[in-house]
């Protein structure tokens, strides 16, 4: 499927495959259009299976002239069967796509790998981004690997773990006094003035977005070339959510998979839920909001792909739901306790929405469900702070016996002694 043009999602005007992201006629977003696939499904599958264990095994479906010779090994993350989680939720078959296994611990490595490769092909000499956190680390790391300078713009009040981990790669971190939407707006203005800078999610955004399709490709391949029945994925801008479905659709169109795109369920935090609100109101117009949620990586108050996310959810028999900050914390805990996967708040949102759908009886126990855990709990440690106690004892067997073994609950003796350490 060679890429052949950029095409407006609103009015279908076509443009050459260069660094543009907005239709000049109607301001609609541009996306990559491909020529029909000339290969048989068997040949495509053979090429995929002969490829590297990274997202580049799907190069036939990505918008690059050449597959990069080297890049940080990205993608081909584990798809983990989550039987204990399924049991807790009364479901039959639940799988977790564990994106914390990427080089910078989130799915953003996928979109950056594709955007950066395309930026190099287009001759840019600097990479940049507007980020809610995870993108910052991904851009900084991939730029470091490629030897390109990077500028990373984030809200100044972002979690310190995300700022520190991005700064470690040597990128210039710019903390902007404002929310993500203000950061994004500033980057759009800067990108208009800096012609040699590739803002991965602004001027090369159509290529960037294609990286998320590989989540759909991998899921299907890891399920033995089969489609799930339902998908739960987080919605911030709506890009990942719509592109996962596009990945499934691309494989269906190429004859690699048979069946329909799964029911797509989007997950938002109540404190930033413009898409869920529009979905509930039966409209496709997302009224922007001022985000106030612990799920900062999903805190986009003005989601550009919101209308497409809503359309997708309706078309596939899915939904867009929202959960509270307390439900998000409980979701982080539930996933960690039942699967051994510690997710950041966005994954808490996804898990909480999965739990909500299960509770509401939306999911048949015979269905196969895939939930996308897009980022790592180590980046949002405050979420679990205070949720348990450490039993701190003197280094004596007796102290262990008294403080831990006999303590019911485990730390009661210590708390009485005033030695319990709340974390």
């Amino acid at each position: 499927m060679p890429a052949e043009a950029l095409k407006c999602k609103e009015c279908s005007t076509r443009y050459p495959l260069e660094a543009r992201y907005v239709c000049e006629r109607c301001f609609g977003p541009l996306e990559v259009a491909y020529a029909p696939c000339g290969s048989s499904p068997e040949e495509l599958k053979r090429r995929i299976q002969a490829g590297p264990h990274s997202l580049w095994r799907y190069a036939d479906f990505l918008p690059l002239d050449c597959t990069p010779r080297t890049s940080l090994p990205t993608g081909w993350t584990p798809l983990v069967r989550a039987d204990r989680l399924a049991e807790r939720l009364g479901l039959g078959e639940v799988w977790i796509k564990n994106e914390t296994a990427n080089p910078t611990h989130s799915f953003k490595d996928r979109v950056v790998a594709v955007a950066l490769a395309r930026a190099v092909e287009l001759g840019f000499d600097t990479v940049a981004c507007a980020s809610t956190g995870n993108l910052a680390g991904a851009v900084a790391a991939h730029a470091a690997y490629a030897g390109l300078p990077a500028y990373v713009f984030v809200p100044a009040d972002l979690e310190p773990e995300k700022i520190l981990s991005a700064g470690a790669y040597g990128a210039q971190i710019v903390g902007v006094r404002g929310n993500y939407d203000a950061v994004n707006r500033l980057c759009m203005e800067i990108s208009g003035e800096r012609e040699s800078w590739a803002f991965v999610n602004v001027n090369v955004r159509p290529y960037y977005a294609e990286g998320s399709k590989t989540l759909g490709f991998e899921t299907a391949e890891q399920l033995g070339w089969e489609l799930p029945d339902r998908v739960v994925a987080p919605v911030a801008s709506g890009s990942l959510f719509t592109k996962v479905a596009r990945g499934f659709q691309d494989f269906i169109d190429a004859g690699i998979l048979s069946g329909d795109v799964p029911a797509m369920h989007g997950a938002q935090a109540e404190g930033c839920s413009p898409v869920a609100q529009a979905y509930a109101a039966g409209t496709a117009v997302c009224r922007p909001v001022k985000p106030d949620t612990i799920a900062k990586s999903l805190a986009i108050g003005d989601p550009a792909d919101g209308p497409y996310a809503i359309d997708l959810a309706r078309r596939t028999g899915g939904s867009i739901d929202a959960v509270s900050d307390d439900e998000i914390r409980a979701g982080v805990r539930l996933l960690a306790e039942t699967t051994g996967i510690f997710t950041e708040t966005a994954g808490g949102v996804t898990t909480a929405v999965l739990a909500k759908l299960a509770e509401q009886g939306e999911i048949d126990p015979g269905e196969r469900v895939v939930a996308y855990i897009t980022g790592d709990g180590l980046k949002t440690l405050d979420t679990v702070r205070g949720s348990f106690e450490v039993a701190e004892i003197e280094p004596h067997l007796e102290a262990f016996q008294r403080g831990v073994v006999e303590g019911t609950p485990a730390t009661s003796a210590l708390r009485e002694a005033g030695q319990g350490a709340a974390i």
Binding site: V22, F27, P307
Partner: protein
């Protein structure tokens, strides 16, 4: 009220290459009408058939999205700055 309008790169080709324009009016909507009067082609790019903004066009008054204010009816004062930008969001 004299207001400065900042144009995104995507619109400059139909505004004689200018990055800014001056316009008059008492609301954001009137200011935009004044802009269309100067550069006729801009109307089609920014507004739909009903005169409302196209859904991927964002307009800001002194940095605030006008959807958080009173939309096109938001009053403007002398010397204000209106910015037009495409809606695009990453994360």
């Amino acid at each position: 009220m004299a207001v400065t309008i900042k144009l995104p790169t995507q619109l400059r080709s139909v505004a004689g290459g200018a990055a800014e324009a001056q316009s008059d009016g008492s609301t954001v909507g009137e200011v935009l009408e004044g802009l269309y009067a100067q550069h006729g082609e801009l109307r089609d790019r920014i507004a739909g058939e009903n005169g409302e903004l196209r859904r991927f066009v964002n307009v800001y008054l002194k940095g605030e999205d006008i959807r958080f204010l009173e939309g096109l009816a938001t009053p403007v004062t002398d010397g204000d700055e209106v910015t037009i930008l495409p809606a695009v969001a990453g994360g």
